[in-house]
């Protein structure tokens, strides 16, 4: 890639490029890597080998991880099923429940800002005769609990609502949703990929029946995730989607990814220890970044609820500046945009559109995802860069000029192309 801008002076405490896209994935914590390493070499056994020490050693690593994960979310070790990641966990949960409870009903409730791993799975089930209700979200990104209550009928078998959104970081009222589902006797699954390890998640207190999580969003390795499946009050059954050796209580066959699982366990253990202090630190950095951007730029908007938001998330639109051009100007900072130009589909973010934002605002959005290894000095560097580039691009923006002249852009007849 060509070097877009040179950086003659890089301040203390900043090493370039800066990674600030922790909702996409996170760097591995060195402590996680250290825990994993023996399982690539000397402890290479198959956790399903029951007859020798190699197998026992691997199994021990797996069972410790199961404990660590369970502890972080208030579950028991037996309720943790290992998968290849959250996409598989979501598929297994939704398809497995749909199949298992087909006799009871065919109605599933989800909401519009879910990850595609949930939405596309639901769409596929619609082809197979299931009925899916996609709840809308309010302008702040939260669902309306009354909408949920009204949507549940006697054919509803599953409610699947994410804990926290990957783009806008908005946290859904999970405990309230869990209560409603338990009152109505409907299974509640939550995609908690962005929430686990970042904010407190307790499957008992929140009445969560099934929960998806993944390692690589919490400073663990890619390619390993888990599904929590409740064993009592009520006992949830899931039809396997991958058949084979009957691993994971028959719910997910396949030789276990032992190093990955050990890494996921370690990542959960670290999160449990450090989550509270880390959240305070992330929130302080995130708030500082927002304050600086708002102090020096006009026409900026935070997308989604500020109150119900992950500590490390800042999603902002820099109106009258297109997102990809902004990213191009800060190419030593890794963030992402809801602009169509940055997406594979050439459509602007469906999450932002679901909040009722215009496409033009979605095109102008940037997601800053702060994580464990970001520093305050980096936030200042990023703020300086973004402020500089936004000002430069607005000098170039006909829209900004027109608005400054008092022209109402909505009154112009734009030629769509």
């Amino acid at each position: 890639m060509s070097n877009v801008t040179s950086n003659p002076d890089v301040p203390e405490g900043v090493s370039l490029p800066i990674y600030m896209d922790n909702h996409a994935t996170s760097p591995m914590d060195p402590r996680v890597l250290e825990a994993m390493l023996p399982y690539f070499s000397v402890k290479f056994g198959n956790a399903a080998s029951r007859n020798h020490s190699f197998g026992w050693e691997a199994e021990q690593g797996v069972e410790q991880a199961r404990e660590q994960i369970a502890r972080l979310i208030g579950a028991t070790a037996k309720e943790i099923i290992f998968t290849s990641g959250a996409t598989e966990s979501n598929n297994l949960a939704i398809k497995g429940i749909a199949e298992m409870y087909r006799e009871r009903g065919n109605h599933i409730i989800t909401q519009v800002t879910e990850h595609k791993a949930v939405l596309d799975t639901c769409k596929r089930l619609e082809k197979y005769g299931y009925r899916v209700t996609y709840l809308p979200v309010k302008a702040d990104g939260l669902i309306d609990l009354d909408d949920l209550r009204r949507a549940i009928d006697d054919k509803t078998i599953l409610v699947t609502i994410m804990s926290a959104n990957n783009e806008i970081g908005v946290i859904q009222p999970v405990a309230e949703i869990g209560n409603i589902c338990h009152e109505k006797g409907v299974i509640f699954h939550t995609d908690a990929v962005q929430a686990v390890g970042k904010i407190p998640v307790d499957v008992q207190a929140m009445n969560i029946d099934v929960l998806s999580l993944t390692a690589h969003k919490i400073y663990g390795p890619k390619g390993v995730g888990a599904l929590y499946v409740r064993r009592r009050n009520p006992r949830v059954q899931i039809a396997a989607q991958i058949d084979g050796g009957g691993h994971e209580r028959g719910m997910r066959s396949g030789t276990l990814n032992v190093p990955g699982i050990v890494g996921l366990g370690k990542a959960c253990a670290i999160a449990q220890e450090e989550m509270a202090t880390e959240a305070v630190r992330l929130r302080a950095m995130r708030d500082h970044l927002r304050a600086r951007l708002e102090a020096e730029l006009d026409y900026v908007e935070v997308n989604g609820s500020w109150e119900h938001r992950l500590p490390g998330n800042l999603n902002m639109s820099f109106i009258y500046v297109e997102g990809e051009s902004l990213l191009m100007g800060i190419n030593d900072v890794a963030v992402s945009s809801g602009s169509a130009c940055t997406s594979a589909t050439l459509e602007p973010s469906y999450v932002l559109k679901a909040l009722g934002l215009g496409d033009d605002v979605a095109h102008s959005s940037i997601r800053f995802g702060l994580g464990r290894f970001n520093t305050m000095a980096e936030c200042d560097y990023v703020a300086d860069k973004v402020i500089g580039i936004v000002k430069k691009l607005r000098e170039l923006s006909p829209l900004y000029e027109m608005v400054k002249e008092g022209i109402d852009l909505s009154k112009i007849e734009w030629a769509a192309h």
Partner: protein, 137 residues
């Protein structure tokens, strides 16, 4: 996405950024694209009424790096050309010069549209100006 060096150069050092007086009879303004599509280009030309040569060109663009580069390049290319010559600039020339990938071809199309719109405005304006002059006398 990797950008070509030429796109990066136009992005870092856009040529002919600015605004011409759109009420002037010598100035044609083309405003193309739409905010909801993620790109809007405004290209303006000032035409010598005697020679029909485009003596000045300015642009402002809301859009991705390739859109900025396409319009910046368009201003460079139209300058010094007659109106008739400028109309011969094709989006494919822009694609080639900037090495735009397929997903960015629409940026070049928009730049060609902007040139045509600016020239169209200038032509219309001069027609309109004459008609008004007749009407008031």
């Amino acid at each position: 996405m990797a950008y070509s060096d030429k796109v990066v150069d136009h992005y870092n050092n856009p040529r002919n950024v600015g605004t011409l007086d759109k009420s002037s009879g010598e100035v044609g303004t083309g405003l193309v694209g739409a905010p909801e599509c993620g790109d809007v280009m405004r290209l303006q030309i000032r035409v010598n009424p005697e020679t029909q040569v485009i003596e000045e060109a300015k642009f402002k663009t809301f859009g991705c790096g390739s859109a900025i580069a396409s319009s910046s390049l368009a201003t460079e290319w139209v300058k010094g050309k007659t109106v008739a010559e400028a109309l011969e600039i094709k989006n494919t020339d822009i694609v080639k010069e900037l090495a735009l990938p397929p997903v960015k071809i629409h940026c070049s199309v928009l730049a060609e549209d902007a040139i045509r719109a600016a020239i169209g405005d200038w032509k219309k304006k001069n027609g309109v100006a004459e008609a008004e002059a007749v009407a008031t006398h």
